[in-house]
Symmetry: C2
Subunit: 251 residues, 2 copies
């Protein structure tokens, strides 16, 4: 048991959830390495939502509300860490959840679908009957009624090649990625530099808050946003955090 | 197979070795998360040895050469990633290798010892018959003829509490840690901010290069070194790298 007042409580609980995900066959062993990378970048942003991330989360909610066929992509780490939060978001923006794995096996897809359904997921895309152009076969599989025809895709934790391939298909892509310099972060239309355990609930809250706005108001929010400028802000936040850690450490 | 000309070849090979280590029972599942954290920090230092790291590696070699009872600590990640390099270093500085696990099980200790011996390790400390004061029982176990009586300990990848406990025992502690701000990094006498796959071979090379120097010359090298200043240099290198990545990305 990790005591709730432990200074790194959230981070340690998150780590346990991922290990549990691997044990349950939901998360791949590579997901653990990805989790470690995420931990390091989250440490650099201070394990809290920065101003740049909050901006991106708000715009993401606006885009998802205006979308005709939004889809939320779910991988093995997201399913282990924030299953209920993804279901809440799916309800808030009326979008299906699609299991979309980098190390895809039909067994793992099935386990994740069962896991999400057992927690109350209603709308799920589960087929792998269409292919994203430009990717090798297994990595390209998506649902013909889900990501394949979506106009907006929210991809928490996406591989750089696939993120770019979705952009090349003409979709609006929103990624959650703790590294503001990753290929995914740079190719997406909206990049949320935040931990998914904070980002997904924030997007739901913004969706609930913004849902009664008029089309023009939402459109205004979206047009004001500049992803490149926001990424630069995220980088400035990381540099400032490094300086403050250095100062605290007396180095 | 990962093609040798892949831009991130080293990093991907390293990742495969760690996954293999888990499959062989040498590396713990938590070692994968640690590997991911390391990958993120290594990315920030540019996946190459920085000037600050090279300085620390040279001083580490000098300290190890002058030590009366130096010991090289080996954990599950080090055993999976650089077993042969650790054996070479053990020979170069005439120091035993001691298996020292954070998530200790006797089974895993045995597997690592067998693995290292099969690759040619001659001097190994394998008992867990003494305790480092101030740590809970399982985390405290060390060999009474190894780390317990060592004057200098090289710990690639050490937990913050244990690093501090070794310092409190009066030992000279050299750590290899990619995060210059970690508790280990801050409590050690010499902190090498580098990937162990590069750091261990560098220390061996320096040991071979310096071994014919007189006592006073080695002592001079050691006295010139200031770990705090060197950590500040490592942080400056990371900040500079972030700026250059940002520039390259046009953000």
């Amino acid at each position: 048991m990790i005591p709730e007042d432990h200074p790194r409580y959230e981070s340690l609980i998150t780590r346990e959830k991922i290990v549990e995900g691997v044990e349950n066959g939901i998360t791949s062993i590579h997901g653990l390495i990805a989790q470690g990378r995420g931990e390091a970048f989250d440490y650099l942003i201070g394990e809290k939502t920065a101003e740049s991330a909050l901006k991106a989360e708000k715009v993401a909610a606006a885009i998802l509300l205006l979308a005709k066929n939004p889809v939320i992509s779910v991988n093995g780490n997201a399913a282990a860490l924030v299953p209920e939060e993804l279901i809440r978001l799916s309800d808030a923006i009326d979008a299906p959840l699609e299991v979309n794995l980098f190390h895809r096996t039909e067994e793992r897809v099935k386990k994740i679908v069962e896991h999400m359904r057992s927690l109350g997921a209603k709308r799920m895309c589960t087929k792998g009957d269409a292919l994203i152009p430009g990717l090798e076969h297994d990595r390209a599989k998506v649902d013909s009624t889900g990501i394949f025809i979506a106009d907006v895709v929210l991809v928490p934790l996406e591989d750089g090649d696939r993120c770019k391939a979705l952009v090349d298909m003409g979709k609006t892509v929103i990624v959650i990625d703790l590294n503001p310099l990753s290929r995914s972060a740079r190719s997406a239309h909206v990049t949320i530099v935040d931990n998914i355990i904070r980002a997904i609930p924030h997007i739901s809250e913004f969706a609930e808050e913004l849902k009664n706005l008029e089309y023009d108001e939402l459109q205004g929010l979206i047009e004001e946003f500049d992803n490149k400028k926001n990424l630069a802000l995220a980088l400035d936040e990381i540099t400032a955090r490094l300086h403050s850690l250095q100062e605290q450490a007396g180095i």
